[in-house]
């Protein structure tokens, strides 16, 4: 008897594969024949979330386009660890120019393909948070404004990791980095600064904007595939924990991403033409503390003195996300 007529599946329902599902209903990553856009031998740290996020996203993009993609990569960890001369881990057409110009180069590649009439080949721009929200921001905004046919993916590890963990415009408040030390009255990164790029992208009213994390593969895959169904500028912002920069255990990368979503600190949603169309509800809500305490970059909030004032401010951020993105449907939102 086969599992086919049964409408439910259960054992490990949220896992990457599920033998109770038909193969076409399983995630792309569960396929032994998956494309591995980023293959073994790369020099990312143990437990790197960015390496994982890039493979997840690009394998899905390959699936959506019959493997016809060209990726333009900004400078940063992903670029450095994947192509240490003379080796490359990429199994796609991939090119790197500079730290700040990936969106512009991607625009150029898209224009060239259009001129050649190769509309089946699709372009992906990608980079870290530094490349995206800071140095490449002008180019990216232009790419959005012109609605160039590029999917831009930001792998957000919340700092300039490749050069030694400096603060970026995506570094969260209170986090310690090399340039926001845990000293003084308000240790770590300041509150009230930084940029929320998914919202800025939405303000450009481009066809598609989404956030995702490495903790929910199926969601990430679905969003990449959906993004590839649009033409024009699209933006996906993926949270990718960094064991080195965050001071977390290498084995906790996915767990930390999961806690970021379940605390509400990182809202997972999608938007079309500037309007939020859906958000992923929190399944097991946790306090932000559960997320913070696994990371040395927040350890000054717990010792030598517990900084409840700061933790409360971060909790308030999470609570605001929960109500803003309706992350707990039918609930007021307080723990």
């Amino acid at each position: 008897m086969s599992a086919a007529p049964i409408k439910f599946y259960q054992v490990g329902s949220f896992a990457i594969g599920n033998r109770l599902l038909s193969p076409e209903d399983r995630s792309i990553q569960s396929d032994p024949e998956r494309t591995n856009a980023l293959t073994s031998g790369h020099r990312a740290c143990q437990g790197c979330g960015e390496a994982l996020g890039a493979r997840y996203a690009l394998d899905a993009a390959m699936r959506a386009t019959d493997d016809k993609i060209i990726a333009v990569n900004a400078t940063g960890c992903l670029e450095v660890f994947s192509t240490p001369y003379p080796e490359s881990s990429w199994r796609i057409a991939w090119l790197h120019s500079l730290f700040g110009n990936a969106p512009a180069v991607a625009t150029g590649v898209a224009a060239a393909l259009k001129a050649q009439g190769k509309s089946d080949i699709r372009v992906i721009g990608q980079g870290g948070d530094g490349a995206t929200v800071d140095i490449g921001f002008g180019a990216l905004s232009g790419m959005f404004e012109r609605n160039d046919d590029v999917l831009y993916i930001c792998y957000d590890n919340e700092a300039y990791m490749n050069t030694g963990v400096q603060r970026s415009g995506a570094t969260p408040p209170a986090a310690r980095t090399a340039t926001t030390q845990a000293v003084g009255e308000n240790p770590g990164n300041v509150f009230g600064q930084g940029k929320n790029l998914p919202r800025i992208a939405m303000a450009h009213e481009i066809p598609y904007v989404a956030t995702a994390t490495v903790a929910d593969l199926r969601d990430l895959e679905a969003k990449v595939i959906k993004a590839m169904s649009f033409r024009g500028a699209r933006y996906i912002h993926v949270l990718v924990p960094c064991p080195l920069g965050w001071g977390s255990e290498s084995c906790d990368t996915i767990k930390i991403a999961r806690l970021a979503t379940q605390s509400g600190l990182f809202p997972v949603f999608e938007a079309e033409s500037g309007e939020v169309t859906s958000s992923t509800p929190i399944r097991h809500r946790v306090k932000v503390e559960e997320y913070l305490k696994l990371q040395i970059r927040y350890s000054h909030l717990f010792s030598p003195n517990r900084r409840d004032d700061v933790i409360d401010l971060l909790q308030a951020t999470a609570d605001k996300n929960i109500s803003r993105y309706n992350l707990i449907p039918d609930e007021s939102g307080s723990i």
Partner: protein, 539 residues
């Protein structure tokens, strides 16, 4: 490689960089002990047969189950399922309804007429099993599977022991009992019924190479209760036995049952079904101290059985009896209070426990007994070489499932003893705790409560009380299992490795770590839902 700097690099060229050298620990796939398996007195591989059942492969699941226990349909009705009491899923929502899935598989097998093939090779050894209760039948089944010629001798008309003459049919329908026992008959086990064994040594001289004793505990314990001559005092085991044989005992309108065990519950419920207007259980201690299974107490109460906790029977007359109230002392023991009460009652049924009848040991008592039971060694052998024992007659818990487990263990050791080898059990003490699981990946799915017949309706006849699951319910229930400590091929490890260092070998074959590239980050271990991978030191 001759490449100018900053120019096209070859695809797959990073494979030359073996990042496995960074590693100090490596992941390893393991098989760990799920708490359910560990708690099953019959040693069933519950996780394994649930896993097989999950995709609808019921026959394969049933065959995996009966490798350990030939009675899933019986188990699904009378086992007190200690497995469920320790199921890790209980901490997530509710324990997996293991017992109901077991019953479904058992019933399904009966419906489909699946049989157990006789052994392909005969060993030439003859083994005698004395007693056709669960312990004896389980031993016979396992011994026969191993190729031995097995004779089962029992004093009663029909095999089953207390499963037939004790447990009433509203809990265990006889068609179910017969179907599962007949399968063992069909394997070629010889049954000699109506044959009481009076001397075990004589039996050994008949050419049997080994004997398994499983005579249970057939003698009812007595208590001295002053009674007038006309008082009607009966013995619970005899009442249940008579009912099974079709002899209706005279109980009267109001029946008092003395005792707090399962036998007391069953005999009180039986009395009601036989027409008694009132059945009252009198028990010395409190409900939480009563040896009866709590579910059975609940079912009895639901059927309108009255219980007087903390009470003893002081004197019995023809139409009434005197009850004394007890009170717990500081140590929690019941003490008489001197407060009396008169209960109107036509008969008193004693259900005070059973003892082993050792008369079959004959005169040459070279088999030791102690405290009314028969001690055995770690191979289930008594102090007499070649004579093994199990079930209610040895010091252990007295349940059907324990008996089945004893029968299996004894069979494996008898087989080894006959072949002059040693049976070595592979111990796996690596018990999986709830904290070790990554339960994020399991859906929240409460367990289906078995439908019960309305309490008032069921007390009128002997039809079965607890209903079984239908196929979709059973499948739903089986799929709630979290597969503690054993890979269920969810592909998480394969998917989450940032270094593509896990090789998927295909359905049923599991996974392998590619140590050339595994950096030892441990994400695969953290994200394995079922705790089936462990980090171990490398080099």
């Amino acid at each position: 490689m001759e490449k100018p700097f900053a120019i096209t690099l070859s695809v797959n060229s990073s494979l030359a960089n073996h990042t496995g050298s960074w590693r100090v620990e490596k992941p390893e796939y393991v098989h760990r002990m799920p708490p359910c398996n560990n708690a099953c007195p019959a040693g069933e591989n519950i996780q394994n047969w649930l896993y097989i059942a999950e995709d609808g492969s019921y026959e394969a699941a049933w065959r995996a189950l009966i490798l350990e226990n030939p009675f899933p349909a019986i188990m699904g009705r009378v086992c007190y399922h200690p497995c469920q009491s320790v199921c890790n899923r209980a901490e997530l929502d509710e324990a997996v309804g293991i017992n109901s899935v077991e019953r479904f598989l058992g019933d399904h097998a009966i419906e489909k007429g699946w049989s157990i093939p006789p052994p392909t090779v005969e060993s030439g050894f003859k083994v005698l099993v004395i007693g056709a209760g669960p312990a004896g039948l389980s031993a016979a089944y396992h011994l026969r599977s191993m190729g031995h010629s097995v004779t089962v001798r029992d004093a009663t008309h029909a095999p089953g022991g207390m499963m037939r003459y004790g447990i009433p049919k509203y809990r265990l329908p006889r068609e179910v009992l017969d179907a599962e026992i007949n399968r063992i008959k069909d394997m070629g086990v010889q049954f000699e019924m109506n044959t009481r064994v009076d001397d075990v040594h004589e039996a050994l001289n008949e050419g049997f190479s080994a004997v398994f004793l499983a005579i249970g505990a057939q003698l009812s314990k007595r208590a001295y209760i002053p009674a007038s001559e006309a008082a009607r005092i009966l013995d619970a085991i005899k009442v249940l036995h008579d009912v099974e044989e079709g002899n209706q005992p005279l109980l009267g309108r109001k029946v008092v049952v003395y005792g707090g065990g399962n036998t007391a519950m069953d005999v009180a419920r039986t009395a009601k079904r036989l027409g008694a207007e009132e059945a009252i259980i009198v028990y010395r201690r409190t409900r939480d101290k009563a040896p009866a299974n709590d579910e059975e107490i609940t079912e009895a109460l639901e059927e309108g059985i009255l219980v007087k906790w903390l009470s003893t029977v002081k004197h019995v007359d023809e139409k009434s009896m005197q009850i004394e109230k007890m009170a717990l002392d500081a140590d929690g023991y019941p003490q008489p209070t001197g407060e009396f009460e008169t209960l109107e009652a036509d008969s008193l049924i004693l259900a005070l426990g059973q003892e082993v009848d050792f008369s079959l040991l004959g005169n040459s008592a070279d088999i030791d007994t102690k405290d009314g039971v028969m001690p055995v060694d770690s191979t289930m052998m008594t102090t007499h070489p070649g004579i093994f024992a199990g079930g209610d007659m040895i010091p252990a818990e007295r349940t059907v499932t324990t008996g089945v487990g004893h029968g299996k263990k004894a069979a494996r050791n008898i087989d080894a003893w006959l072949r002059k080898t040693v049976y070595e059990k592979i111990d796996n003490n690596d018990l999986v705790t709830y904290e070790q699981l990554n339960t994020w990946y399991y859906t929240d799915a409460p367990h289906i409560v078995r439908e019960r017949l309305e309490a008032t309706r069921r007390a009128k006849d002997f039809s079965e009380v607890v209903k079984g699951l239908d196929e979709s319910n059973a499948l739903y229930e089986a799929r709630r299992c979290m597969s503690c400590g054993n890979c269920f091929e969810c592909d998480n490890c394969f998917g989450v490795c940032p270094d593509n260092a896990i090789i998927k070998l295909g359905p049923g074959k599991g996974f392998e770590i590619n140590l050339d590239y595994c950096k030892g980050c441990g994400i695969c271990v953290s994200e394995c839902p079922s705790s089936s991978i462990m980090m171990v030191p490398d080099k």
